[in-house]
């Protein structure tokens, strides 16, 4: 895959380049400040962009804004946003309008190289990768909602589904068969009274929309 990286910390930037190159990807450009991001993306049209939220010159949420601006011009551009901390409202902004190919992860997750690369590929192919912390917060912040009626196993399935994983990965992670994953998902949708949707990105969005609403 051809990747553009925007990260101001040189150590992390070089680390990301090394990691992606060793995994067989091609880093076509790097940006170390906000003004460089959009031109680099427009010039190289990468398969996926990896952006840090906090960038110079303001050290606020430049990376996030650049990601949103880039997607306005290139709606199909997959972006993976990385941050030192996660904020639910940022996730909502990124996913707003039913966008496909969006990732929002803590920088910590880069350490789990395989999982990180997996998330990157998922985003590049139009899927979703949402940090477990965002999903956990969405699921636990409120009592007395139908989420409470889910069994422990169903909650685990819902959590993984909301993070953007497909049935195969969920089955592997929980060490159960894909058939029982489908069964659990069916139960979850029934209990939350969500309309049954096909697998994939639309399902993730339905779940997130539900969690955001309650």
């Amino acid at each position: 895959m051809r990747v553009v990286i925007a990260e101001d910390n040189a150590l992390l930037r070089e680390g990301l380049v090394l990691l992606l190159t060793s995994a067989g990807h091609e880093v076509v450009a790097t940006a170390s400040a906000e003004p460089e991001i959009l031109p680099a993306l427009l010039e190289h049209r990468p398969d996926v962009a990896v952006l840090d939220v906090r960038m110079p010159p303001g050290f606020r949420d430049e990376g996030l804004r650049a990601a949103l601006a880039a997607r306005e011009q290139m709606p199909e551009l997959p972006v993976l946003v990385l941050s030192q901390y996660v904020e639910q409202s940022y996730a909502a902004e990124l996913l707003g309008g039913g966008a496909t190919g969006v990732g929002y992860l803590l920088k910590d997750r880069i350490g789990r190289v395989d999982e990180f690369l997996d998330a990157l590929e998922r985003v590049a192919s139009g899927g979703t990768a949402l940090d477990p912390e965002v999903v956990t917060e969405l699921m636990t912040r409120r009592r007395g909602t139908p989420v409470d009626t889910l069994t422990a196993r169903e909650r685990e399935v819902l959590q993984l589904m909301a993070e953007g994983h497909d049935n195969t990965t969920i089955a592997k992670t929980l060490v159960i068969t894909e058939r029982s994953v489908s069964k659990h998902i069916g139960n979850v949708f029934l209990k939350l009274s969500l309309p049954p949707t096909d697998t994939g990105h639309r399902r993730v969005l339905a779940v997130l929309a539900y969690l955001n609403r309650t």
């Binding site: 939220v53 906090r54 050290f59 606020r60 949420d61 030192q84 901390y85 904020e87 639910q88 409202s89 909502a92 803590l106 910590d108 350490g111 789990r112 917060e137 912040r141 409120r142 009592r143 309650t214």
Partner: protein, 412 residues
């Protein structure tokens, strides 16, 4: 009718004047005592009497202040230096307090003009028959009896002018208050620094030490038993993630990153949106180009909103909350209200109904009392607000609503 009103008004003024005359007589006796005390002080006999005498002067002037503001409806402020500490210290403040000297001047003059109040007696004697004729028979406005009111007005005006603390005394009082609040703020800051130090020391630092140890063990194991080495590396990575999570937690506690990114309004809006509650968010006094509050004030306001909304979502049983953020002349006001079941309870089972103040005037005793009323979340909020010299009020009667009101002083 006219006569009745005139008599009622004059009677009211007479009561005021009678008190004035009484006070004037009393101050005459008092000035005598004062002179004796002063002479005694010089003779090093009655030195201990001086501070007590000054306190008495203050009580006397205080009585007059209340009396006058009762008549005019306008508060007359006090600006005394507090008389505390050992005798030498008390003596020094007694002699240096400019507001007390102003009180003395008032007392001397009041002895003179206070006796004007006696004029009420002949005015009554003259006024009753005269005004009785004048307005009883001729239906004209009373002439003599209103003069008694004028007399009381005059007394009030002069006393207000004399009892208003001199600018120097006001400044001195302000300095005293500021010194105290500054000391409190510095102490609170110290507590906060120690908390952060402890969090880092017990959390991330300890985890990094253990992480380094595990990597060392993995290196040793690598040659002999690659599988064991792999397991140790897995554990090391877990530990690294935990250390990072811990650091994030500490950073959030110091200054929430979203405040830097989005400012207070944006950050609070994000809180409201992600609270799981239906929050009616109202903003007062902010314009797009308003300057930002100091970072510590913004962080405290954010902390209060986050805690209050979390509590409301968890315990109130209601899914609505009202949130107001107001920029006032004196600072920032935060009000969070939910229509829940109320009865915000502390771990000891007591209900928070008292509005305990986090103001600096609240001494150690009150601080300890406040600790007992608030739950752990409330205690944290109160501390944070008190550190900034703010006020913290919580009202949560059984059956609701719960209202948390915080004022954080700052200069815009």
């Amino acid at each position: 009718m006219l006569m009745k009103a005139a008599i009622r008004q004059a009677a009211h003024a007479t009561v005021q004047l009678a008190r004035t005359v009484g006070l004037a007589f009393f101050s005459l006796i008092f000035v005598t005592v004062l002179i004796i005390a002063a002479v005694g002080t010089i003779a090093l006999v009655g030195a201990a009497l001086l501070p007590e005498t000054v306190l008495l002067i203050r009580r006397l002037a205080g009585a007059k202040r209340r009396m006058v503001s009762g008549w005019t409806g306008r508060e007359i402020p006090e600006a005394y230096l507090p008389i505390t500490g050992p005798l030498r210290e008390r003596l020094r403040t007694s002699v240096r307090d400019t507001c007390t000297y102003a009180d003395l001047r008032w007392m001397g003059l009041h002895y003179g003009y206070g006796l004007f109040g006696l004029a009420a007696v002949p005015l009554w004697l003259l006024g009753l028959p005269l005004d009785g004729l004048w307005c009883g028979l001729l239906r004209q406005r009373a002439l003599v009896l209103p003069l008694i009111t004028r007399l009381a007005d005059l007394d009030a005006r002069w006393s207000t002018a004399l009892l208003d603390p001199p600018p120097k005394a006001r400044l001195a009082e302000r300095v005293t208050v500021l010194t105290e609040t500054r000391a409190n703020a510095v102490a609170a800051h110290g507590v906060e620094l120690r908390r952060i130090e402890r969090d880092l020391h017990d959390g991330a630092q300890a985890q990094l030490v253990s992480l380094s140890m595990r990597i060392g063990l993995a290196r040793r194991a690598y040659e002999r038993d690659p599988e064991a080495g792999r397991k140790l590396l897995d554990e090391a990575q877990d530990q690294a993630q935990q250390a990072l999570a811990q650091l994030r937690h500490v950073v959030r506690g110091i200054h929430p990153p979203i405040l830097t990114d989005r400012g207070l309004l944006g950050a609070v809006r994000a809180l409201a949106a992600s609270s799981g509650l239906d929050v009616a968010f109202e903003v007062e006094g902010f314009s797009p180009d308003s300057p930002r509050a100091p970072a510590a004030v913004e962080a405290a306001a954010y902390f209060v909103v986050a805690e209050s909304l979390t509590n409301a979502a968890k315990y109130s049983g209601s899914d609505h909350a009202e949130l107001t953020l107001a920029r006032t002349a004196k600072g920032l006001r935060v009000v969070v209200r939910d229509e829940g079941r109320g009865g915000a309870v502390d771990p000891a089972g007591r209900i928070a109904e008292a509005a305990a103040s986090g103001a600096p005037a609240a001494g150690a005793a009150q601080q300890a009392g406040a600790e007992r009323i608030g739950g752990s979340g409330l205690v944290g909020m109160r501390r944070r607000v008190a550190a900034l010299d703010g006020s913290f009020k919580v009202s949560s009667p059984l059956g609701g609503p719960t209202v948390i009101e915080v004022e954080l002083p700052c200069v815009w």
